[in-house]
């Protein structure tokens, strides 16, 4: 690894563009109480998201999740510890640094997510390139897409994230990549 320059690593990484992971199912179906906690977080008292009786008479016939809640409900969640890591497209990208910062987030919402839905997700690497940031002149920028599907295999949402992966100041110095 030490022999590979950031540019060589980028060349390898770019071969992963378009590669999509296997679907990862969520641990549990969409449930009421996590939605309630999510709404509590931002002071949202919309009965469409919390009141089964209200929701039964409203447009969707049952409680739906607030927009963007899907990030919290899909996947295995932060507990219990997993015996093996979930494969992600960006996780396969070898880069000089391993410090992540998420910058841009983009959602397209296609279908309502309802209580009881079982959501799975797949990930795809859309782009990877080198662009300097203050901390690291050879920062890797990764653009990832996550596709969320429900139990009927319908795509309910897609999320696109732009993430930078940088080295620590010490690593930059050790590599002799002084800032331009």
């Amino acid at each position: 690894m030490a022999t590979n320059t950031p540019e060589e690593m980028l060349q390898e990484a770019r071969k992963l563009i378009g590669w999509e992971t296997e679907p990862v199912p969520s641990r549990y179906p969409v449930e009421y109480d996590p939605i309630r906690r999510y709404c509590h977080m931002v002071g949202d008292d919309n009965p469409l998201f919390m009141d089964p009786e209200h929701a039964a008479n409203a447009r969707y016939g049952s409680v739906i999740a607030p927009p963007f809640f899907i990030r919290q409900t899909s996947g295995p969640g932060p507990w219990p510890p997993r015996s093996q890591e979930i494969p992600t497209a960006s996780g396969r990208v070898l880069s000089p640094g391993d410090r992540n910062i998420v910058l841009n987030t983009e959602f397209e919402l296609l279908k309502p997510v309802k209580v009881g839905d079982r959501i799975s997700q797949t990930q795809r690497l859309v782009d990877v390139y080198i662009k300097p940031i203050r901390l690291d002149p050879k920062t890797f920028w990764l653009v990832n897409e996550t596709i969320f599907r429900n139990q009927d295999d319908e795509v309910v949402a897609t999320m696109r994230n732009t993430m930078v992966r940088h080295r620590t100041p010490e690593q930059v110095k050790a590599a002799g990549d002084a800032e331009a």
């Binding site: 931002v42 008292d45 919309n46 927009p67 919290q72 969640g77 998420v102």
Partner: protein, 156 residues
């Protein structure tokens, strides 16, 4: 502290016909208090220490802990879903985490309508929405495309 919109206000459906370019998107404030930080962890289930452990955040070179993407996204989710109502739909959302919100900041979520148009039989709006605080102004510029019901459709 929190200018929560009442449930009644939310239940009133907004129609595309009544909206004009330049209209404000009704917003709300979230002061970043210790309780808000605790709510952020519970609601987002994001346990990365940089968002709740001051010492950890400072060791990482930040002046203090800062609110996470999950929380910020949820704030915009509340703004947008309140705006479109039950008959509307949030089609697309784009957010840029440019600057941080720290404890002591008051996040102000707000926005305006920048384009009103139709596409096929969809009645759409493009919104510019953002989070700002008193310390640095806009921290999180964002955009959204939303669909609203039209009175013409409702009556036809």
């Amino acid at each position: 502290m929190d200018e929560t919109m009442t449930t009644e206000a939310k239940r009133e459906q907004r129609y595309w016909d009544d909206v004009n370019e330049g209209d404000e998107v009704p917003g709300f404030e979230r002061p970043v208090t210790p309780t808000q930080i605790a709510l952020q962890v519970s609601g987002s289930q994001d346990f990365y220490e940089v968002h709740h452990d001051q010492e950890f955040a400072r060791a990482g070179g930040h002046p203090d802990i800062f609110v996470n993407t999950g929380f910020t996204t949820a704030c915009f989710g509340r703004l947008l879903s309140s705006f479109v109502g039950e008959a509307g739909w949030v089609k697309k959302f784009h957010m840029e985490m440019r600057r941080m919100n720290h404890p002591g900041d008051v996040m102000k979520l707000t926005g305006k309508v920048i384009r009103k148009y139709t596409e096929g039989d969809e009645h759409l709006l493009e919104l510019e929405i953002w989070s700002e605080n008193e310390r640095i102004g806009v921290t999180t510029p964002s955009t959204a495309t939303v669909l609203l019901p039209s009175r013409r459709q409702a009556t036809s």
